[in-house]
């Protein structure tokens, strides 16, 4: 198995009356940046980078950064900048950029260039995530969401071609047209850095990732066991239809996790921070989360009918823990639940989020240490023979 520490770099200093939902209907896009104090930001960025760097020492396989705009949930609008900082302060771990929001960029060649730079700088340690960005980010950037899906597809094709075919060549798309595609530097990894796709639960994305021409790792984020199982089954089924066997390294789970000495202590220490994440950090306005055309018509209709089922603001942390949105428990509980999920669902990439919401530095380190020294070695002993990491899956 592989284990990569996920981080969001949240901004925890919300106004004291932030639970007033009328006053603060969301922590994204329209939540004023007057609430961001850059002086506090200095300490936060440095502390969060220290935590990611410490992950190498603790034995994680990789560290994950990601892109989100105009919010308190995660303050990494430019993930390649964080990845660049990490290339110089780590030596061994993979650096996973999960990801760059392709349609959000004016030009995908900027992503092709920056990821190639990072890959060369890091000596080939980059995993390149591609995302469309959360729906709200089309409000942040003023970008037309009705083109989100086709811009993603076209940007993807352009980047892959720019990494794999000798330049200069001509690219004529609907959204991007370049007479001279000739990206310097070229990435170090061949044919290109591995591509991983985080998803909020789109079946179509799972099918797309599992196609034999891609075999991209499909990563579920914050989804309950029931949904993850259905999505991963879809990926296995897709592979079978194409006559190949899906590797566990084509499936990953991102989960907020808090481990402590006992179940009760874990709840006492961890629940409040998970509540911050889901009830404050992920507080969205529905119409902004799903802007027009962001989802394909059938998915948009399905979401409009069933959104109340995934509305986190109505679920308690205990309910979410039980359903598998997150994992809170003793070392034994977490070991057991993870092993069960990995065996039953066949996935091999774990991305625990161990700094959660407003969790302070000391508690974060305690969580990281306990996870890395007690849970991780167990998972490795259970799964490394079962799922040997192959060169292909990086």
């Amino acid at each position: 198995m592989q284990c990569h520490l996920f981080h969001l770099m949240p901004y925890p200093y919300l106004p004291p009356d932030f639970d007033d939902m009328k006053k603060y209907p969301t922590s994204w896009v329209t939540f004023s940046n007057k609430h961001y104090d850059p002086v506090k930001g200095v300490d936060l960025y440095n502390r969060y980078l220290d935590e990611l760097e410490w992950a190498e020492e603790l034995g994680f396989d990789g560290v994950c950064v990601n892109e989100h705009h105009q919010n308190a949930y995660g303050t990494m609008p430019a993930p390649n900048i964080m990845a660049a900082a990490l290339t110089r302060r780590t030596k061994r771990v993979k650096i996973l950029v999960l990801g760059n929001g392709l349609p959000l960029r004016d030009h995908p060649l900027r992503v092709a260039e920056e990821i190639a730079m990072l890959d060369v700088m890091s000596g080939g340690r980059i995993v390149s995530g591609f995302v469309r960005g959360v729906g709200v980010e089309y409000f942040s950037m003023g970008l037309n969401p009705t083109y989100s899906r086709e811009r993603f597809a076209e940007a993807h094709d352009l980047i892959i071609k720019a990494w794999t075919e000798p330049g200069p060549f001509d690219f004529e798309g609907k959204h991007y047209r370049v007479r001279y595609v000739n990206v310097w530097p070229r990435p170090l990894q061949k044919p290109h850095p591995p591509i991983w796709i985080p998803s909020f639960g789109s079946r179509d994305t799972g099918v797309w990732c599992a196609h034999p021409s891609r075999k991209y790792a499909f990563l579920s984020t914050y989804l309950p066991d029931k949904t993850v199982k259905a999505l991963f089954d879809t990926c296995f089924e897709t592979a079978r239809q194409h006559n190949y066997e899906l590797s566990p390294y084509q499936l990953g789970r991102l989960m907020p996790m808090y481990v402590a000495e006992t179940d009760e202590q874990a709840r006492r220490e961890g629940n409040q921070h998970i509540a911050w994440l889901f009830h404050r950090g992920l507080r969205y306005i529905y119409e902004m989360l799903f802007p027009p055309g962001y989802l394909a018509p059938a998915a948009a209709l399905f979401m409009a009918k069933s959104y109340h089922e995934v509305d986190w603001t109505k679920l308690s942390v205990d309910q979410m823990n039980e359903a598998g949105y997150c994992m809170v428990g003793s070392v034994e509980t977490v070991k057991r639940r993870l092993a069960k999920s990995m065996k039953e669902m066949g996935w091999g990439i774990l991305m625990p989020l161990l700094q959660i919401g407003d969790m302070p530095a000391d508690r974060t380190r305690k969580n990281m240490k306990l996870f890395a020294t007690e849970v991780l070695p167990y998972l490795r002993s259970e799964f490394d023979n079962l799922h040997p990491v192959t060169a292909k899956s990086a």
């Binding site: 902004m288 802007p291 027009p292 055309g293």
Partner: protein
């Protein structure tokens, strides 16, 4: 219900078309709300005119959104649609998004419009006016507040229900996407339209609800200033959708203007 509801082919796009009445052809271009239904307003007008109510590409049962990127693609679409209906020219009335399309059609193809009515038309950026609220970020109840003079009225609740049927939900999602396609950014305007309004030379009537909270009366005044000889009239106790909220005085004003 005597009106006709059919799907016609417009250069490969399947377009839903409602029509009824007899007399001079009147082409109605609907709003972002997608009022593709035979409302009392259309019934009233169909006594004096042959009323055509097509759904824009991507709205209601119309396809063809894949051929639309900007409002100018809609202009070409409507010249094609008029050709398909055998209309050399017509009386044209448009509400909101439809008003914008009608204004663009008048700028680019004035020969296709005999007389023009713009109602609560978007399409302009006007520095003197309050910015339009973001309809793409608004919830159902917020949209009712923006659009209607009386957001608690039976009409408002029927047009934007709290618990829509699957069919209503699907229509609303389609309308939202097709509107965003041409109106996301710039937000429901064409930066060049204002300076091109001088090209609109046919008789033009501007109708605004006196309490339009989406496209304030200032925009009506901007259109009036730009379109030589145009007249601006307001409908009392009315929000953004005069044909729906005040069908009688609105239909009368449109009729009188087109007949005069």
């Amino acid at each position: 219900m005597a009106f006709k509801d059919e799907i016609i082919d417009v250069h490969g796009s399947k377009i839903q078309l409602l029509s009824d009445g007899s007399g001079e052809p009147l082409l109605y271009l609907h709003s972002a709300g997608g009022e593709v239904a035979w409302l009392p307003f259309f019934e009233m007008l169909s006594r004096d005119f042959k009323v055509y109510l097509p759904a824009h590409p991507g709205f209601s049962k119309s396809g063809g959104l894949d051929k639309i990127d900007t409002v100018h693609d809609l202009v070409l679409h409507y010249t094609d649609l008029m050709d398909a209906l055998g209309l050399k020219n017509a009386l044209v009335a448009g509400l909101s998004l439809g008003g914008w399309i009608a204004a663009e059609l008048a700028v680019h193809h004035p020969e296709r419009i005999r007389k023009l009515v713009l109602m609560g038309a978007v399409g302009l950026y006007w520095k003197g006016a309050p910015p339009m609220p973001d309809i793409f970020a608004a919830s159902g109840p917020q949209t009712r507040d923006i659009v209607f003079f009386d957001p608690k009225s039976e009409l408002a609740m029927a047009v934007i229900p709290d618990n829509p049927t699957a069919e209503q939900l699907e229509a609303a999602l389609k309308a939202r996407e097709a509107t965003a396609r041409v109106g996301w950014n710039p937000y429901l305007y064409d930066p060049r339209l204002l300076e091109r309004l001088y090209r609109i030379t046919m008789p033009t009537l501007l109708i605004w609800g006196d309490s339009d909270r989406l496209v304030s009366l200032e925009y009506g005044k901007a259109y009036q200033k730009g379109i030589k000889g145009s007249r601006l009239m307001t409908i009392e106790k009315c929000g953004h959708a005069p044909p729906m909220e005040r069908p009688e005085p609105t239909a009368k004003a449109v009729r009188d203007f087109f007949k005069q």
